[in-house]
Each structure stands twice: as C-alpha cells, then as structure tokens.
Subunit: 543 residues, 2 copies
Amino acid sequence: MKTLQDPLRIARICAVLLIAIAATLSRAHSRADSNAENAAGQGGSKGDSKPNVMIVLVDDMGLMDTSVPFLIDKDGAAVEHPLNRWYRTPNMERLAKRGVRLSEFYAMSVCSPSRISLMSGQNSARHRTTTWINPDSNNRGPSGPPDWNWKGLDASSVTLARLMQQAGYRTIHVGKGHFGPRDSIGSDPRNLGFDINVGGSSIGQPGSYYGTKSFGAEVPKPTHAVPGLDEYHGQEIFLTEALTREAIKHVQESVRQEKPFFLNFAHYAVHAPFQADARFPTEDPTGKFSKQALAFASLVQGMDDSLGKMLDCFDELGIAENTLVFFLGDNGSDAPLGEPHAVASSAPLRGKKGSHYEGGMRVPFIAAWAQTSKQNPWQKRLPIPQGQIRKGWGAIYDLFPTIAELVQLEIPSGHIVDGSSLKTIFASSEPVLLDREFLMHFPHAPHRSNYFTVFRQGDWKLIYHYLPEKSSPQMQLFDLSKDPYEQTDLAETRPKERDNLLIRMREKLIEQRSLYPVDQDGQAIEPTRGIDFQSVLPFPSTP
Amino acid sequence: MKTLQDPLRIARICAVLLIAIAATLSRAHSRADSNAENAAGQGGSKGDSKPNVMIVLVDDMGLMDTSVPFLIDKDGAAVEHPLNRWYRTPNMERLAKRGVRLSEFYAMSVCSPSRISLMSGQNSARHRTTTWINPDSNNRGPSGPPDWNWKGLDASSVTLARLMQQAGYRTIHVGKGHFGPRDSIGSDPRNLGFDINVGGSSIGQPGSYYGTKSFGAEVPKPTHAVPGLDEYHGQEIFLTEALTREAIKHVQESVRQEKPFFLNFAHYAVHAPFQADARFPTEDPTGKFSKQALAFASLVQGMDDSLGKMLDCFDELGIAENTLVFFLGDNGSDAPLGEPHAVASSAPLRGKKGSHYEGGMRVPFIAAWAQTSKQNPWQKRLPIPQGQIRKGWGAIYDLFPTIAELVQLEIPSGHIVDGSSLKTIFASSEPVLLDREFLMHFPHAPHRSNYFTVFRQGDWKLIYHYLPEKSSPQMQLFDLSKDPYEQTDLAETRPKERDNLLIRMREKLIEQRSLYPVDQDGQAIEPTRGIDFQSVLPFPSTP
C-alpha cells in the first residue's frame, strides 16, 4: 500500500488529471462534430458549410464619403451629389453592384455606442454605453447619468462574436476595438468571443497610421499605439494595408482549417488623425480643399483599396459565394469640411458625427454575397439582389438579428435584441418598414451636440434637447419627407405632431430603460410629455 | 504498482470521493460560519442574529373579510363597516395592535400572479404569469397572449425564498404553492429555494379541508389532494389546523438549530370549496347569510385562529421580538355574497376577486414585529409603529424589496424589481407615495372580468377593456378621492384625464414588457393612445 500512503494527494492529482482529460475529450469531441458538419458540404468554408461573414466597419465614415451614391430621388433612384464625385471608392462600387444598399441606415452618433450596438443587437439607450469610451477617465460629462456604461462590454456580455464562436465559427477581430476602457476586460476582443485579435484595444484612434512611426508605439508615452502589429514596425506601410494583410492571413488560415470565419474588420481609417495615405494622392483642381480634407480623401480611398483586396482574396480562395459581406460606417461623417451643424461634411445632409442631425448618424450600408450564386443554400436563405438600392430603413443593431437568423444562433433568453432582421428589406423592391422607429439617445456633454434624444417615426423626426442647465427643454421637429436636409423646424407650428412624437419617444426611452441627464441634485431629468399634457397632471416619477 | 493497474478507474473513484469531500467540507464550513454569526447575538434566532420572517398569505381573502377595519375616513381614521362586524378575527386585531396596516394595499386580481409577484418582486405584467395557473392545461384563453408564462417559476428563477436561503435562512413553505403546473419544476417549492415544503404543489385549492377525507387524497382521481400531510389522514382535523401544527413544528426546529427562519405560510383557507370549519360555528341571527357564506366566515375564523397560534408560538419560544410578520391576502375577496361586479362581497368596495374594481385586488395588509422592542437592532432598522393605519399605498411586489433591504439580500443584477421598500410608509404618519402608480394587467378570459388593464395614478383610476372581439376598446375612469366605490364613470366627461392616464398606462405596460391580448390573426392588440391622438398619426407597432 506504499503507493497510496498519501491517498488524498494522489486523489487530488488524479482528479485534476481527470478533469483535464475530460475537458480535452470534450473539446476533441466537439471539434470532431464541427469537422463532420463542415465536411458535409463541399469542404471547408467553400461550400454549403456555414457561410463566412465579414463585417467591414469603417470608423467615422458618413453617408457621403464615397463615390457610391446613397441618397435617392422620389422614385427611389440613386442620385449623385458633389461629394460622390469628390471621393473615389471603386471597390465600394464593385460591392454595391454585387449587393443591395440602404439609403437610410442609422448608426449611433459616436463610436463606442455603435460598436457595442453591433455586437449586442441593442440600442445604445439599452446597453447604456451612450457616448464614446474615454480609455482613461469616465467621460459622462457634467450632467451625464452616473450609471451610464463607461465600462462597455465584459466577459459575461452576450456578443455576436461569442455566439458565432459557440456556433463553430473562427472569430477574428481586426482593427479598432474600443469596447471598454484601458486594461478593462472588454478592452481585449478576445474576452468578448473573438479567437483572434489584431490591433484592437481600448483606443479609439491610432497614434499614427504610419508603419515608419510604428503606428504610435514609438513615442515617449505610447497611449495610442496600435497593438499586435510589431512585425510591421519601421516599415513603409500604411496601417490600413497592414491590417488588410493580417485579415487576409487569418482568412486563409480559416480556409486551411476548413472552418467558417466571422471577420469583424473594423478599420481605424478614416478617423483622425488625418494623415495622408500616400498610395492614393488626391488631386484637387479647384484648390478648395484643405490639406486635411485631401488626407481624409486618401484615407477613404485606402480603406476602399482594402475592401477590394478582401474581395479579391475571397475570389481567389473560391469562397466568395459562401461569404456574406456587410459594409458600413460607425457614425456620421467626420470629414473636415465645415461646421458640425452645417450642410457641409455630409452635404446635402445637415450635420456631422456627434450632431443630432441626419449627417450625425446616417452611414453607408451595403450588404452583398461576395459572389452571387443561385445554388448556394445560404444565399437561398438570405437572398440579396444585385445592384439595388432600398428606401427601407435599417440600423446598426439590425446586423445581430440578421446574422443570427441566417446561421440560427442561439440567443440566450433574457438578452433583449432591439434590432430586427433585414432580410425582408433586402428582398422587397417596395419600401418596407416605413412605419419603423429609430431612437438615438445621447445624455452627455460636451460634444458637437449635447444632451439630446432623436426620435424618428416614419418621416417625422423629433429632436429633444434636455438643456439641464436651463429650466425647460427645447425641441425641433422635421418632416423628412419634405425637408430631408432639416432646414425648417416645425416644433412650434405642428404641436400635435410634436407631442405625439414626444409621447412615443418617452415610451421608447422607457422601454429601453434609458438613463437621463441629471440635475444639480443628481435627479434624472426625464423628458416632459408636452405642453398640454404637463398642465393637466403633475408629471409622475416612476416608482 | 499493482494497486494502480487501472489508474483511470482509481482516478475516477478518487475524483468522485474528492468532490464529495469538498462538498461536505464546504457545507460544514458555511454552517460553521453561520453558527458563528448566530452565536454573535443572543443565540439562535432569538437575539440580534438575523430576524425571522413569517409571511401569512391568505388565499382569496379580501380587504373586508375581517373584523379589523382597513378603510379610513378623510382624516385617516379607520372606519368600521357592516362586514367588519360580521367577521370575527381577534388575532388579526391582536396583530394590528402590534403593527401597522395599509388601507390601500394591492395584490393581483387572481392567485398565481400574486404568488409569483411576492416571490419575484415583479409585477405580473413583467413576470408574465398573468392569470392563475391551471395545473393541467394552458388556460391563456381564446385571445390571451400565446407567450404568457403558464409554466410559472422554475429552478433558475430569482425568488425571495432562494435569496433568503442563500443568506443563511431556513426556508419553510407551508400551504398552497401554485407556482407552476402539475409535475413542473416550479410545482415543488423545494425547487424554488425552500428547504422545506409542507402541502405545496400545483393545485390552487384543496380537494377537501377535512382530515377525515384525507384532504382530498381519498377519491378515485385525487387531482387536488394536499400533499405531505399523510399523518393527519383519517383524523378529525381541519386543514388549517394541520398546516398550523406543521408550521409550528418547523419553527421549533429552526430555533433548535439556532437558524433564522423564513416561513411562507400560505393558507389554503379561505379559498373554495366553502367547507365549514366546525371549530368555529358561525351564527347568523338575521338569517340573511347562505350556508356557503356561513362556511366562508368559519374558514376566515379558522385562519385567524392559526395566526393566534403562530403568535403564541413566537411568544413561547422567546423569539417574538426578533420575528417580523407580514399578513396579507393574495387577491380580492371571494366571499359568496353577491355578484362579481356589485358592491357586495367587499362592500362598500365594488367588485370581488378577478374583477377590475377595487374589490378585485385590494387586500388586508398588516406588518408587525411579533413583539415590539426598542432595543432590537433589526427593529431599529425597520421601525414599525403599533396600532397605526396608513393611507400610503403598497403592493404585493413590495414585500421582496422590503425584506431584501432589511436583511441585505444580494439581488442578482439583471433581475428587475418593480416594488419598493415599504419602510418609509411604515415610518411616516403622513400619507406618502400618493403620486405612486399601480398597474394590474389581465390579458385573459374567461374570468369575472376579461382582457383588461387597470392603471392607478394618485387617486385617478383608469380601466382599459381590450374587447378583442370588437373593433374598439372601452374605458372607465374613476376619481377615487371622491368616488372610492367606483360608481361614477368619468371616461366621457373627463377626456383629458382619461387620455393622460392612458398614455402613462401605455408607458408602464411597455416598461414592463407586457404581453397583450391577440386578434384573430394572432397580432397583439396594444392599447390605443386616446381618441385625439389616434387620428393624428397611425398607431405605430414596436419594431
């Protein structure tokens, strides 16, 4: 019995070993299952195994920062505007020819809210990351809600990446993260369901786009160094290109492993700093554009070049027909072309990133199968017409349910999804969902617009300004069907419509458990219910 | 090495043993912790260890089924009405003298919704068990919402019992359960956080109150046998008394174990069948009362006798000053005294159990420390005055946060609590929370009232009837400050108040993610927003 003289210790070792063995067996088993599933198709991610999904999320790219027209006339035909003639995005044109674009697609007005909406399927009012996440200090603002979600996503968050990972996908994050503050769990995409992370961290912009500057790593305090690209440091390579090479490498590896991939390609471009991408020198015969604006245009073109290389890669690997592409911006344009509330950077739309006008939150959106195929079973499940443009609305939180529906993700009960699948809008040539509602809630300051809620219902748009420093709020009302560029405020002349929207806006805010700006005593400033109504009953507080 | 010739098998055995050892050690450890905590006080559950909590939940007992007056005059003084002189509840009088009662306390209009609200702290609109649970078939009704929560609570539900259990309480359920359908997880209170269950199952009423009938177990199909009382079968004992003896036995055992107890004493009385409790023969000199009504009165008195025995038991065990008692009904009165919508069974209140009038959902409520003590630290944390009555509102979902606040329960994040602590109302002699709101949502049929929502704000009360079979809804509006017995419908004459309440009612329904009755196509029938508003904008559907 000598060998058992310390039975407890042996048992302990045995138990640890056993747990390890069991875990290994279980992993091997599930891998075998997933391989079997893949092998059932034409092999790997090429055939009718699960479809690959690539999301291209372009930072600070607004609706007009492209040669692809997204605005339409009253017959639903695309209309080219001057800015469409200024920017050069031939690969977006190529993608648009292969798929469908939405003329009215909303993101949040700033960055982190949009990114978390994409990952969660929730409006920012619900997930409560209602402004961008300053990596180093809580930036709720002087009257912002104390309980807003500065921490962003964490290891227990339900994310699209995690659900895709659980569904057998190889999940790849390339580019900007900005899901949580510095050193938080959420700052590393690998804690949010991504198997691979290249370049993602708490930062919202790169220290530098230049490889020769090691993307910001070679300064005394490299707070905005892009992580994970050490092999490119010191080289003559632009950040957009380095990320593209990494993305292609990981796509190739997925194909080699015969696993479907979910690639979240979140460009740092075209966010400031506006450093020129020298591969795409922009000429301005008019001499009207600033050096910054020229650099911005080159960032756009460099990003577009990356899109082309991704599409080429899918073609070359023979996976294009089994690869679904979503291309979109994360908030309104930040093009350095004029005042934030003017018709300028997103002309003819009014406003830019951060503002409460359409230019603050309308973004380009293209959905396409990288190569159309009538036979592919996944394309049969989500048909996407070629070269079409749709008036039907969409919003960034719709990607989650659209993808979840296609690949049948199991969404945990209790996780509320605000979006809905875009399948119907893609399929129908008639405008659909025009009675839909869009809520954009920004209870913070300082930014280009402060403490506001935007609520759109049909073509009516209400903007509610909380003005915590004053005794009463202000409202703006626009009829986008007649006034798409928000020039004529109807708040005073159409009080019934205004109050109707106000009442419904309150319902939506309540439904999403929104947090409000606070007054000097820290009490939430709920939106009023309209002038008439206020005078009848005292405005109630929720018990 | 002979002993290790089958190392995997040995390892397996070792692992099993180890897990068992670890579990035992962990249990012993936590018991030691909890003993240490108890010993810090005067020992056991007698001193300043955690306070014992008893909830007495009386089935189908309305506000007027007692000799204790709950209605008040305009100065806030209790007023005796004829029914108070008819029923005899000396032990409720005794408890009322020791504590505080609320004149306006709401439960849900039927049974299971109230029970789950008590356990979850949520309004039934949110937990979605919006009608009683038929044990054997889904009773949503012809136009009821398909996704209503017929299944009730389950093993993953956050319940008051489970949180108390986790906080070191010995958790005891005695009496009616009705938390889930037959053979469901939730049908056994032990799956919901109760250590002990006597008498609780899926049934909503006893097969028989008589021990000589084995409480319903001795019929060919004993669908409504009360479980767990076999030792009383065949004896001359009334169900109320048998349950009381069991409750006392478990309280005594808790004291012996020096563990605080949480006792959910949920009487089957005074629910139908109206079988006389022969210990309390009721005399009716007027000859006006039916045999059923006489039996009902004896059920009330038998329940009251049980309350007295529990209070005696606490006194005798010396734990009264450390024992908090909540006494309440689970819905409006079911006294067999007249038509459901008349001023009859709850006179002078209109309506009875199941109806949309006050008599349908107002219940007696008394909170008391079983013995007042100025020294007891828990009584300092939750002071309850003696012999007082309060106009301040309460509702059944307020017990959860009141108890949670007192004993500092850790409520899991993500679990929404609709109630709020009653501490302030207990403490203040002025009416408080009069701007509070109460929502009672019943999207089912057939019952005494069908497909309705009641919404009270301050003293205004709106009743919304969905009428799924007709093209438009109906509304009733009452000003309870002037018309507490709901005789004058103001819906036509006060349209502004009506529409104000309607709009706020919608907000509350939306906030609680309520489910609505459905039309013939299965589409939810949301409440309209009022006549004026409807004509301005098409009523939107939630995306």
